[in-house]
């Protein structure tokens, strides 16, 4: 592939990065001026729009590369913008624009110290993610990756006085570092042989490196661990449900909507670009892990009673779906079915983009709810639709989208994913041929359960009667917040109505990865992957027709039957004393799921005592992975450190003896 130097879109992204970095640096001297700090967010939003535009340019124009002589002498930063990074820049920019506009409104009530911390790290975080997408050598990639982890850590812990938040931040940092170590090892295996010194760590050298199948598998496994830890793949997902509730809502939105996709980008980059040959079992592994993650995530989402925790588990589910599609794409590409690989990859990228938009929307909407009500617990919410109509209706769009319902965008990508599964019969591996129906069934189950989760989420928070009298004073989100949500919601609608256009837009990225684009057999109105006789879906005509029918029915009914509508107390089967406590609580709504999937989780229940004046029932579902994996590792680490502690006596003579013995042993070996 020819890499142009000179006129360059890559330099234009560089401009965006510099803008964000400048905003971060400017916030340091201005940290006492609230007005200036707040003004940074709309600027960050505009930069996001700019980055998205350059992302589109990256998709449409040929790849461009640049070497920037910053950093250590002799170690310049290699940057490259190709279709794949262009796509993720588009995702980043679209998400960042909406969230940053929202953040301008959301952060204005913060106390100045926290606001200053946010204003410094927020643009730095965006800049770091952009650099991850541009990096063209392992050094730059790792520096950007770590900057991303660190800046998001500081964002998560911006309210560091709360112990729970500090703990969540620590867990996040720990997992991020485990992942980073795995990535270092991955790049170590990948380093281009035949090159020496620094050149071996550029991606272009790695592309031409020749690896044995074992080495390639090792590199891929390290990449899977490293990126899986960032994406929240089970069993490396534990930090997600802790960190997302701890972070301020716009930060959760960016982390969940955008940062998790950086892991997907990384795996695509390593698996499809740096590694030239793949093996079928990688695909099977990714598929199985993805399915496990999706099922596990959605089941736990259904039993949560904290709104942000619920959304965090739902992110795990969506990541699972994305990785399922990725596994399928790897299998197809190994079997040489590049058309199908293109279909699966289109579904993956489409879903990644969709998730960035609707999950950001849901997280920021949750922020408004949190701000209006002061609680994240569903037991203290309810009926907010009437107090916050803007937030309510926009969130309804987000909920319908994430539940995978037509005509919104979530349905399109899930439809594509199911189509990719349906096209599978005829693989060379017989086992796989027969396992795939079961996998398809699990995907269908996950999608249906997601609808359950979202009805619970929306119904308990926005509908019904307020479960807490204080909610009578809940207030609507301000204009900035509404604009941010409106942007994200309208993007969800547009992506849902114009799938053919979106597929054309992302096709260069698919072409680059799968070696082929997904052919659309249906023209610009109808989405028909590969063959119109097999399957097609045309959202725009369909929903125009629905709208027409709806208006017609409404008109007919209202014209023919003019009977008036009388408002009265709710009927409730004639039961007079109705209180808000009689509605289903979040626990109650999740109870059937808890019952059916009880073998997946450990449930702690608190029952009310007979003497209690304010009886309280609570049930908490505990993630089994803590017991099976993490606590044993913690115990083992403690044991090991205790053993090591025996060597520590605090006496200088002992330490000198250790050094002396080490020296002797080394000398023997050298000899």
């Amino acid at each position: 592939m020819s890499e142009i130097t000179g006129y360059q879109p890559v330099a234009m992204v560089w401009g965006g990065v510099l803008c964000w970095l400048a905003l971060a640096l400017l916030a340091i001297p201005l940290r006492a001026h609230k007005r200036w700090l707040l003004a940074g967010f709309p600027l960050a939003a505009l930069t996001g729009l700019w980055v998205a535009a350059v992302g589109v340019a990256g998709l449409l124009l040929p790849a461009s590369a640049q070497i920037v002589p910053v950093g250590f002498p002799g170690l310049p930063v290699h940057l490259r913008l190709d279709a794949l990074s262009g796509f993720f820049l588009l995702l980043l920019g679209m998400g960042a624009f909406g969230v940053s506009v929202y953040a301008r409104g959301y952060f204005q009530h913060m106390e100045i110290g926290e606001l200053a911390r946010l204003a410094i790290w927020y643009p730095a975080f965006l800049a770091a993610m952009t650099l991850v997408l541009l990096a063209n050598d392992a050094y730059a990639f790792m520096v950007a990756w770590e900057l991303m982890a660190l800046s998001s850590y500081f964002l998560v812990t911006s309210d560091y006085r709360v112990e729970e938040i500090r703990k969540a931040g620590f867990l996040y940092l720990l997992m991020a570092h485990i992942g980073a170590v795995a990535l270092l090892l991955c790049f170590g295996v990948l380093q281009g042989n035949g090159h020496t010194g620094d050149a071996a760590f550029t991606f272009s050298a790695m592309r031409h490196g020749v690896l044995t199948p074992t080495q390639a598998s090792l590199a891929f496994l390290f990449a899977l661990i490293g990126f899986g830890a960032k994406a929240g793949l089970v069993p490396l997902h534990v930090w997600l449900p802790e960190a997302h509730p701890a972070a301020p809502s716009p930060v959760s939105a960016l982390m969940s909507g955008v940062m998790l996709k950086m892991a997907l980008y990384g795996l695509l980059r390593v698996g499809f670009d740096l590694l030239s040959v793949r093996q079928e079992w990688w695909g099977v592994l990714v598929l199985v892990l993805g399915l496990m993650t999706a099922l596990y995530g959605v089941i736990f989402a259904a039993v949560q009673s904290d709104i942000k925790r619920l959304l965090a588990w739902s992110s795990i589910e969506n990541i699972g779906l994305i990785f399922t599609g990725l596994g399928l794409a790897i299998i197809f590409s190994v079997e040489g079915k590049s058309g199908l690989a293109a279909l699966a990859l289109t579904a993956v990228l489409y879903h990644a983009l969709n998730h960035a938009l609707f999950k950001s929307l849901l997280f920021v909407g949750t922020g408004s709810v949190l701000h209006a009500s002061g609680t994240r617990l569903m037991s203290g919410l309810g009926g907010l639709m009437r107090k916050m109509p803007w937030t309510g209706w926009l969130m309804l769009l987000g909920v319908l989208a994430i539940a995978g319902l037509p005509p919104l965008n979530g349905f399109v990508s899930e439809w594509l994913l199911l189509q990719a599964f349906l096209f599978t019969p005829g693989l060379d591996l017989h086992y796989l041929n027969m396992m795939l129906p079961v996998a398809t069934a699990s995907v269908a189950l996950v999608i249906a359960l997601a609808a359950y989760v979202m009805v619970k989420f929306y119904g308990v928070v926005f509908l019904g009667q307020p479960r807490n009298p204080a909610l009578k004073h809940a207030h609507e989100a301000d204009i900035w917040q509404r604009m941010g949500m409106l942007w994200l919601a309208s993007a969800c609608v547009l992506l849902g109505l114009l799938p053919s256009a979106v597929i054309v837009l992302i096709s260069p990225a698919v072409q680059q990865v799968a070696g082929r684009v997904l052919t659309n057999d249906g023209g610009w109105l109808v989405l028909a992957p590969m063959d119109a006789a097999r399957a097609s879906y045309a959202p725009l005509p369909f929903w125009l027709a629905t709208l027409a029918v709806l208006l017609l029915v409404y008109g007919l009914v209202r014209f023919r039957y003019t009977g008036r509508v009388r408002r009265s107390a709710a009927w409730q089967c004639g039961f007079p004393a109705v209180t808000a406590r009689m509605q289903d609580s979040a626990e109650g709504f999740g109870q059937p799921i808890q019952h059916i999937f009880s073998s997946f989780m450990q449930v702690d229940r608190q029952y009310p005592q007979p003497q209690d004046r304010t009886p309280h029932y609570a049930s908490v579902s505990i993630d089994q992975w803590w017991h099976f994996l993490y606590l044993p590792i913690v115990a083992a680490t403690n044991w090991l450190s205790q053993q090591t502690a025996r060597l520590q006596h605090g006496r200088i003579q002992w330490y000198l003896t250790y050094s002396f013995i080490t020296l002797l042993v080394l000398l023997v070996f050298v000899q």
């Binding site: 086992y431 027969m434 396992m435 079961v438 059916i596 073998s599």
Partner: protein, 228 residues
Amino acid sequence: MISTGASGMISGWYLQIVNLLAALLLLISFAMLAQRRVAGLISLFAWQGAALAVSTAIVAVFTAQWHLLYSVALTLLLKVMIIPWFFYRLVRKLGMSRDVEPLLNHSLTMLTGIVLVIFAFNLALPISQMAGTVMRSTLGIAMACVLLSFLMMITRTKALPQVIGFMAMENGIFFAATSATYGMPLVVELGVALDVLVGVFVLGIFFFQIRETFESMDLRQMEKRKEH
């Protein structure tokens, strides 16, 4: 008349009926896995025998393997009539029509069942390509039936369901033999049938003895005995 396609797909309407019956056998195996009542289990077992007999009879007639008809008669007599009748009587006499308590939970058992089916189907693919019979593609189903019956035996705690599981496994083996080599030699067939019959009656006597001694048909009681 019998046309074998390149992909192994065979046309001919009688084979389609055999295939349908094979699918039915698999379905009955799953139903037995899910069935909670002993009485229901016995009738399912009888139905399984009947489906087996009909499909074997069809194969016997259409491929002129007349010796198979003896096996059909044996199956009908033993597995559809005598043994179920005997079991019904046992259930009535011993008063154990209550629910069977499975060891594993329902959905987990079913999931394991599906995995076993996939395993069996894939195991059978290479074997069935070697077999020269017309109904070789049903070999996978036969193996799945054997494995599912085994699974049923594992998941039950009472003695009678385990015996039924054992008999169902025998059904599966019989079906496998028919689909792979048009059945076993008649002598073997007769021997097995006799063994099964005697075995069932001996077990019947045992059941009375077990109940006399432990006042229960739950096999977990016997584990406890062993520990003393």
